[in-house]
């Protein structure tokens, strides 16, 4: 039989044998599929807005934009500006609450 077209082997078979999904990936999928990730994100958004964290971040952005000129700024720039300060300044009670909920989910879903 002549193969008229060069065709790589069908991926499915190869993939299953090469890579097993990590625990992280499995849990991530479960989070998303159950809708819990969405709920957690909304909750976190709400908490961060209430405590003024979001406003702080927006103020940082505005200051940076003002300094650099609004036509020279990219989204990437802004992400790099906010991320270190943002991660560090989440209030403890907010972080604790979210971590608790995530852990509860892990306990209930990780079987």
């Amino acid at each position: 039989m002549r193969h008229s077209v060069n065709r790589p082997p069908t991926p499915d078979a190869a993939e299953d044998q090469e890579k097993e999904p990590t625990l992280q990936e499995i849990i991530n999928i479960k989070l998303i599929e159950s809708g819990e990730k969405e709920r957690l994100m909304e909750l976190l958004r709400e908490r961060l807005t209430e405590c003024g964290w979001k406003d702080e971040m927006k103020a940082l952005c505005r200051a940076f934009i003002k300094k650099k000129g609004r036509n020279n700024v990219t989204v990437d720039d802004l992400v790099h500006v906010i991320t270190p300060k943002g991660r560090a300044s989440v209030p403890d009670h907010v972080k604790a609450d979210l971590l608790q909920r995530i852990r509860t989910f892990l306990d209930s879903a990780a079987l």
Partner: protein, 178 residues
Amino acid sequence: MSASREDNTSPDAQLSSHFFGDLLDSIIVDIASECHRIAKLGLDRNLEDEEEELRLSTQARVRAADPSNSGETNSKYVVDIFGQTHPPVASEIFDCMNCGRSIMAGRFAPHLEKCMGKGRKARLKAARNSSAAQNRYSRGSPASTYSPYSNSTSTNRLSNGSTGVAGEELSNGTYEEP
């Protein structure tokens, strides 16, 4: 998943932190994107405009605090924060609701004084119309412009109120003569 319970504390905490970080990163990207959009579309009150406004308001404040500008006499030359100048005397004309005449806004207060009570004719008129209410008015204050019972003894006070202009207005006689 066959992870045993004992192993769960440390990797579990790590896992939770990982997912928390994940959520946080998404939110950060959202905020960055939102700010970027607002900046690019100029929706946020333009930053340059803000600085311009600040500058203008400090200028205005300096001018207002400047002692060489006495408010009344120089009001023709002072520009307010909206860039408008106002004439020293308000020049709009409208109708007095008491007597129905056309009055210039800047002359309205003195007109009202005569029209409503301080002048001789108005007071006489008020006295006739409200004799029953005489007793209720405050009698004690000589400064009161509404003393309706002061018909006969009022000659002294009249001379205060009637200037040359007032004389003109009253003698035009749009009030009913008592």
